[in-house]
Amino acid sequence: MRIRSRRPWCERPSLRRGAAVLGSALAAFVVTSLAVAGFTASRTGGPMSVTTKRIFSGPRSTYPGDLRDASSGAAANKTDQLDYDDATPAVTGAWASAFSASRFYQIDFNSPRPGGLPTSSVNFNIKYASKGGGGSGNACIYKIEVRRASNDSLLGTLDHSASPLCSTGTTYRVVNEDISAYVTSTDIANDLRIKVFGYETGAKAWNIEYATVTGTSYSSWTLFEATVTDQSTGAATTTTWALANAEGTGAGATIYTDTNNWPSANPSTSRYLQFTFDHADLPAGAVVQSVTLKNVWRDSAAPGNGGTLCNYFDVYNGATLVESHGGNTQATALSCNNSATTWQTDTVNLTNVDTVAEANSMTIKVYYWIAPLCGGGQNPSCVKSVTDQMQATFTYYLD
């Protein structure tokens, strides 16, 4: 019989290896536990709520849509024809009698909105009709494209090809197209192009009483045209609202020349150019930090013989005089300019325009006159003024 000697467990190699592994693991666990298990303490502070302003401070510039020329002593409406329902329609060229992809009326709008805000209830509003005339028919909208003005990228199309939106002859039709799905922020609203594809069943022109974009971002706002490209005939004609930009070229479509010569020697309170900034559209509660007015102008012709064209202006809130800048003599005038080529730029801070109400209905009356006098003999010639740009910049924020 074979007798097997009983060896202690510690002498068995397999058990010894197992014990070594187990021991190592245990040791590691103990060391780790000791390292992690020390005392800790913590203290929580706050919570601290931080909220940003709804609209950050910044300058927002716009120009007047409403212009009245009282250089004759009686105010005449020289308003941008696409801005108001005021019986002064813009007239297009002659359309084709049916849709053509190369015939459209394109409007680029101004950019007065503070950026980065969500928008709602954005509508393109147009009132239009056939201009009439022999053989005329109905003015019809076939489709409307919503685009970015900066790169002409297409945001969306309102397709009415199945049932075009037609006026009945010369009776105006009002169309309010909801474009909220495409204009979702003020960044887009500030870079907006609307392209209207249409026709006139008698291949005649349209009257467009107004074409604006309205929307809401804390308050309702309205965009006016900046530039129009009329390609109703198939050939493009581009015009810019005279007061919108300071092109400095003096080209006819980029300036406004008043209708009558200005008075001699002294200004007249009944002879002026009136500019109304009725769509600054500052939201209620906004804090107006500054308002600046810029007027870029020159003489229509040099007065000669030592004469110069001078001006001062008043700022109104409705019928209430808010402030005046410049006096009614050559020495006290806001500025004078005796040149038909050199542009005078007057930039004035309107310190008393410091409320939302004042900013949202600001009217400027600019009084011109020729100093020291004009007309007759060897005197300076009486001249008109030429306005290249009238711009107001509103700096504000909304908490």
């Binding site: 020390g38 913590s42 203290r43 709520s49 931080v50 940003t52 401070s57």
Partner: protein, 219 residues
């Protein structure tokens, strides 16, 4: 070279007899050792009894061992004071006294921040809120609200400017000694590079200061 032959039956029997003899000898040695120890123990006991019977003396030692405490408190804090509405370029200063009120000092401290609700204000690491923490050698002098602070002593940087949200952000230059207090100023900055996308945003930020005990020592 040694050759090994398989054992025979007689050989196995002989080997068994040898093993028994060895075990008997080992058992005998063990019994002798135990008897010797017993005799020595008995002698020592007798000697001890004899001594005890003559002089008596005793000593009683009570050794109390108690663990310390590690505690972080904020006896003064403006961190709960919000700010609204802020604009790019704005800064928000809030003071905080951080006390090491336990009996054990700290080895280090960290800050963890979180935001709920969250917005671009705390998720944008570049143009969102930035945090910096300074320490004044004495209590900050407070003005406001809006709160601003000046230090009558010396200022050291606890946390250099960085994005607001972070986990276990290491803090420097803290005292950390049990019983002491650090006078901290937390400054949030809304970078001037923030654009209009940051308009009308809101975040609520919580701050958690954490510390761990000093290294273990002989006590």
């Amino acid at each position: 070279m040694t050759s090994v032959n398989p054992p025979t039956r007689d050989g196995l029997a002989a080997a068994g007899a040898d093993n028994k003899a060895i075990m008997r000898r080992a058992s005998f040695r063990a019994r002798k050792i135990l008897l010797s120890l017993a005799a020595l123990g008995a002698a020592a006991s007798i000697a001890g009894l004899g001594t005890f019977a003559t002089f008596t003396s005793s000593t009683s030692t009570s050794n109390t061992i108690a663990s310390g405490t590690l505690s972080l408190t904020a006896p003064f804090s403006r961190l709960g004071t919000g700010a609204s509405p802020i604009a790019p370029g704005d800064t928000m200063q809030r003071a905080l006294d951080l006390s090491y009120s336990g009996t054990i000092s700290f080895a280090s401290a960290t800050l963890t921040t979180s935001a709920s609700p969250s917005s671009l204000l705390d998720t944008d690491g570049t143009n969102g809120l930035q945090i910096a923490i300074d320490k004044c050698s004495q209590a900050w002098t407070e003005a406001g609200p809006p709160y601003t602070y000046t230090c009558g002593g010396s200022i050291s940087t606890v946390l250099a400017t960085r994005a607001l949200i972070g986990s276990a952000i290491a803090l420097s230059n803290l005292t950390l000694t049990a019983g002491s207090t650090d006078h901290l100023r937390v400054t949030l900055t809304f970078p001037s590079g923030a654009d209009n996308t940051f308009q009308n945003k809101s975040s609520t930020v919580s701050y958690t200061f954490s510390g761990s005990q000093r290294a273990a020592t002989d006590q």
